[in-house]
Amino acid sequence: MVELRSTGKPRAAVRTWTSFMTDFSIIGKPIAMVDAAEKTTGAGKYTDDLSLPGMLIGKILHSPHPHARIKRIDTSRAQKLNDVIAVVVGADAPNPYGILPVGHDEHALAIDKVRYIGDNLACVVAVSEATAEAALELVEVEYEILPAYFDPEESMKAESNLIHDNKPHNLEKDYHHTFGDPDKGFAQSDYVTESRYLANEVTHAAMEPHSTLASFDIDSQTGQAGRLTVWSSTQVPYYLQHKLSLVLDMPMSQIRVIKPLVGGGFGGKSEVIPLEIIAAVAARKAKAPVKITYTREEVFWAHRGRPRTIIDLKTGVKNDGRITAVKARVVQDGGAYCSYGVVTILYSGALLGALYDIPNIHYDGYRVLTNKPACGAMRGHGTVNVRFAFESQLDEIAGRLQIDPAEIRRRNLLKPPCITVNGLRVQSYGLPECIDKIVERSGWKSRKGKMPKSRGLGIACSHYVSGAANSIIRSDMPHSTVNIKIDRDGGVVVYTGASEIGQGSDTMTAQVAAETLGCALSRIKIVAADTDLTPIDIGSYSSRVTFMAGNATMRAAQEVKKQIASAAAKKMNCAPEDLVFRDDSVFKQSTDHVGAGLRPAQEEQNSASVSGRVEGQILRGSLQQKRKDEGPKDSMSFEEAVVATIDFHGALTGTGSYAPPLEARGGKHKGGGVGPSPAYSYSAQVAEVSVDEDTGEVTVHKVWAAHDCGRALNPVSVEGQIIGSVWMGMGQALTEEMVWKDGLLMNPGLLEYRSPSSVESPEIEPIIVESIDPEGPFGAKECSEGSLAATIPAIANAIYDAVGIRLRESPFTPERVLAALRAKKNAKTLDMTEGVDPTAPVRLREHGGALWFKGKGPERHELDPARRTEGG
């Protein structure tokens, strides 16, 4: 860690907005989401709700084999079926693509090989879903079955029959990073501990299944297919536009991507999903609009979730609990394609830093290909599983050194502003306050160690980026750009590429624009995520929207505000700098209006709502009257000021953009581009659990979760994100797990892929900590992902506190808990790796799954209807 205080850039300069605004009228208030009415009444349109005249339905044929060469694919019988319009195969769109420039290893439909059960082979386009379904059965495929790889450690030994020919040993990517001097760090330590942790695979399980509708215009000159319009459930319209251009060989300008309402993403829609490309290829071949909506089973196959991760973690500490060195070997079971994999494995190492002060780090990361659906980005991308291991190990160390687990975390805090040993710049740092708050609220000091039998408390911390400082497609382009247009009646339209996926992107944009312009929130209309209308934005992922698109919105608003100020100043006979915009009015900053207490709060609200309701006509009449009545004055309404500006300048528009500052872009080492962020969020949590020692069932009674989000632009939204993160983390901790049998997913449905239901949801007390980031919009940072990672180890540590078992494999199902309890009783150590030296490549149990899963049951293979029909 390099402390930055001495080098000190003048920090006050970037905090100009705080110097005069001590309170706000729009941000910081619990405001309902701007799309709440649409969603709660059911009026809102998601992609699958859309329909076009002559629209056809596409259905995809999926591979039944985990790894096979396609010897022959014959679609002629399917094509002959009545009402089948087209059958699309790999040869119809042979260009490869992938979300990362280094990972262009996917095709719209398989060309020569299938690489997982569920891989995409062909797409039938028909007038009805039933016909398309029927036609799928008529597509004949002849396979040459190849040996398949399901375990990453085994897969890395492969010499032949590689999953991708250009990836020797099925190794997608490996990184070996050394920061500081780990050997020296371990030598200086008083105590070293080392363990293997295993986090099984989980998926997003967003409510809305993926859906895409693609339609070509007819070119008026040639009569051929012209521009393409795609409506899709995506987190990043820009990436989809980019990949469509690549696969379809069309310029991006000929492709328009529109994002309708999206029913949850969590990372699962942050990259291009096969159906998005297939729908466009199919629409081109069928010469008609085509819609494809995944079934839930297909959503599981499309996956892109959190990989099964094996973590060998070693930590050295001094007797006082100070960490001297950390060594981690991380192996990720990445599935059959690269996806975001290279980024995931880098995040796993990079975000060992920036939470605590770790002077020496050694990291070996392996992203391995296996014959399973590709893993990708999922809430807390790359950090969650390693955080589970780290926070569990820290708890173990605290116990060993007899230091309070909250205290050992305090002893390892960073001293920001600083640059960590692995090159991450940390400025705002609310972790100490987060720890203080949860310790206080949970009654940690008085209750820890004095809990009733089988009941315990556990603590853990986590953090996350507020957007990546380097975009995956390297360029100097700003990460977000926003346009604002203001109409003559004072209506403000914000054009942003940021994608509302349920997280509150549109609401945040409206709040930031209204606050900056000092106008009523009701004036703001959001036009978002339509590549024809909105400037390029790299989308909703890695928690970047509030920080980056928020900053761009603020800058665009400042630009138009400057124009309004100069026109209004002329009317008011003052300098533009003397004007204050607030409460839907423009004031001359006079001695009467010093500070921000411009009007009493009561009046403030009235004026905002009344002006919002005033009809344009009446308003213009009254404005003209007013102008006649009065000479220069001390205040104008927002409308008056806008009219004055437009009368003077003509159209009123402004643009703002955001690019992360150079000093936040990280170190120069290979892979150093992933991990750096302009700001990090922090979270600390205490979980209270009880364990049924006879059945192994774990009940979470309460979670206290403090999250440093910089500034809460919308506290109710921030609390919702904290609660949602804890809840999703609890799912991974206790019940959620993808169970595989020879590459076949055994639980591809929401019945057996068990997200917690409302019955299991504990009381969650969200605590907002505001560290006011110097570069965030109004000081805001991320709040949607960082809390997830702390929940899993907090629960693990609470289980240890309750019954004295250390669980190193997630999820902590009743079965695993009971096995650990029995092992403890018999004083045997629970060995997850079947007793092989952890330094040697070991044979783990086949694919996670139940602890004693012996691999019975061909009766539950994919052809067995019982797999679908098992009912209670």
Partner: protein, 283 residues
């Protein structure tokens, strides 16, 4: 009447019509539909459908001098709301655990038996009540004990032309105490890892009769007759301790996506002991 390629959907209103329609169409029965539709997966029904939700004779739960008759069309919600003696407490508790409230409103008790899932929540409770089923066809009506009705995973003694018209529960132990316990990997909306139902008929602090049934731990739910034998005549104190591993011999649990065989076995014993203790504690 139906023709190739045309979907046939029949909705009779009397039992006679229903049996005729079933016989003529060789179709499939549809009642609550909560197992029927999921079992189709992505496909349309292949056979004609005989919807029996409007058949009058199948409705309701009635009390007879010697038995309770749960109509073939009675839903879980009807069962939960029906005034029934306390030996039904376990069955009612099972009903509340079936699927979700929405499923309970649609799904029928008879359908749960005909679907014959090893994990059916109602079967252990009904086995412990010594229930029988009434099967009617165009020509005959027969009564079959529940343990002879469910033959295996998804297999029952019902013939293709038969309708399960009622579940019959003898009134031998109306005042007996009963308990139901279920273990799943989450609390709600979950398929069970193990299910236990216990019925204890108690007379002056001693067990006169005991029925213990375990579900989800073998292809069909099983009564633990050795344990029942052991319990008869025993006093209520430390009743849980009487259950031992050897009493679980009728069980043959499997490994699957929900749990391993050994965990099922282990937790079944825990559940049996708990159910016995909880049931005795009601006395």
């Amino acid at each position: 009447m139906w023709f190739a390629g045309v979907y046939v959907y029949l909705r009779p209103t009397t039992l006679e019509e229903a049996l005729e329609a079933l016989y003529q169409s060789r179709g499939e029965l549809l009642a609550g539909g909560t197992d029927f539709y999921p079992s189709l997966g992505e496909r349309l029904p292949a056979k004609p459908i005989v919807d029996i939700t409007r058949v009058r004779e199948l409705k309701g739960i009635t009390r007879k001098p010697d038995l309770f008759r749960i109509g073939g069309g009675a839903t879980w919600t009807e069962l939960i709301k029906a005034p029934l003696p306390r030996c039904f407490d376990a069955l009612k508790a099972a009903a509340r655990e079936i699927g979700s409230v929405q499923i309970q409103n649609r799904g029928t008790v008879a359908g749960n038996l005909c679907n014959a899932s090893p994990a059916a929540d109602s079967v252990p409770a009904l086995l412990a009540l010594d229930a029988a089923v009434e099967l009617a066809s165009r020509s005959t009506v027969r009564r079959v004990a529940l343990q002879d009705f469910i033959l295996g995973n998804r297999k029952t003694a019902r013939q293709a032309d038969e309708i399960l018209t009622a579940i019959l529960v003898p009134r031998a132990v109306d005042d007996a105490l009963s308990t139901f316990l279920k273990l799943g990997a989450r609390r709600y909306l979950v398929i069970s890892i193990a299910i236990v139902a216990v019925v204890l008929d108690i007379e002056s602090g001693k067990i006169r009769d005991a029925r213990v049934a375990v579900g989800s731990c073998s292809v069909r739910a099983q009564r633990l007759t050795d344990l029942e034998q052991r319990l008869r005549g025993a006093s209520l104190s430390d009743i849980a301790e009487l259950a031992a591993e050897q009493h679980l011999k009728p069980l043959s649990p499997i490994d699957d996506v929900r749990a391993s065989a050994s965990y099922r076995f282990d937790s079944a014993l825990t559940l049996v002991r708990r159910a016995l203790a909880q049931c005795a504690a009601k006395c």
